[in-house]
């Protein structure tokens, strides 16, 4: 059986790759992809801990399912905002969206 720490290490690596994507990209859609990667890493940790610590109690899987729903809602609203911003400013580069800056 694969030990728990290996799953946690994969989750940690995935989270850091996602964080790097969010920090290093200018394109809003790429930033959203990085956020999806980070949410997936958290899900892997939740399910891993569930499997190795309390597999008879369904809390871990239920939490992961809720995270998944929130991720879907976030993607839908985020992409809608990106498309609306692109309509008005002809750009999806986050640095160009500075209407609220002073």
């Amino acid at each position: 059986m694969v030990p728990l720490w290996m799953y946690l290490a994969v989750g940690a690596a995935l989270f850091c790759i996602g964080a790097y994507t969010v920090l290093s990209r200018k394109n809003a859609i790429a930033i959203l992809m990085g956020i999806e990667l980070m949410l997936n890493a958290v899900n892997l940790n939740l399910v891993g801990f569930w499997r190795y610590q309390a597999p008879e109690n369904m809390s871990g899987q239920a939490f992961a399912a809720f995270v998944l729903v929130i991720a879907a809602a976030e993607a839908a609203v985020g992409l809608a905002i990106i498309i609306a911003v692109y309509r008005s400013r002809r750009s999806v580069v986050v640095e160009d969206v500075d209407l609220l800056r002073w």
């Binding site: 290093s24 892997l44 190795y52 369904m58 239920a62 976030e74 993607a75």
Partner: protein, 176 residues
């Protein structure tokens, strides 16, 4: 059932790990956003495999349906709709090396917390044999003592988010 010192489970774990992390690296480093979206789908598929290994078949199926089927397509659509931006060679910020250092240091920190017994020995090598089934998961969602309230709240939230997304993305000038 050990072939060449590697159990089938360990082999599958390695394969899905490579898919997950390789896809994620493809997302992080690829300049072309359409290819980035395809790499994201590869990564999400590897994650579904890891869910199967963790005996969570329902989450694996939902991962394929919701993430690959819905979010992957949604991101591809967004990339296509903002096409004039994706034709540019996509630029990284000037602080990309700083981001790499931060992410790398954070990874080392997390790895230390996972491998070293800093927070006690919370990582057993053997998973318990008894596993909750998908049926129990379904019951826990409608059980009054467990997750029925969060379940209803999250379904309301999803409906509100989808309606909000339609309203935000709709053409404004067509209505008068």
């Amino acid at each position: 059932m050990v072939i060449g010192g590697i159990t089938p489970e360990a082999f599958a774990f390695g394969l899905f790990t490579i898919l997950t992390l390789g896809g994620a690296l493809g997302v992080a480093l690829n300049r072309n956003l359409v290819r980035g979206a395809v790499w994201l789908i590869v990564s999400l598929f590897g994650m579904a495999g890891l869910f199967v290994l963790l005996s969570a078949p329902f989450l694996a199926a939902v991962q394929v349906l919701v993430y690959i089927g819905a979010i992957g397509i949604l991101i591809t659509f967004a990339v296509m709709l903002t096409r004039s931006m994706t034709n540019l060679r996509e630029r990284f910020t000037n602080q990309w090396w700083m981001s790499a250092i931060v992410a790398g240091l954070f990874f080392l920190f997390l790895l230390l917390g996972v491998v070293a017994p800093v927070w006690g020995s919370l990582s057993p090598d053997q998973a318990p044999a008894i596993v909750g089934t998908t049926e129990q998961l379904g019951v826990s969602f409608v059980d009054g003592n467990q997750f029925v309230l969060p379940f209803e709240v999250v379904s309301l939230l999803l409906t509100a988010a989808i309606i909000g997304a339609i309203v935000i993305a709709r053409h404004q000038e067509e209505e008068e």
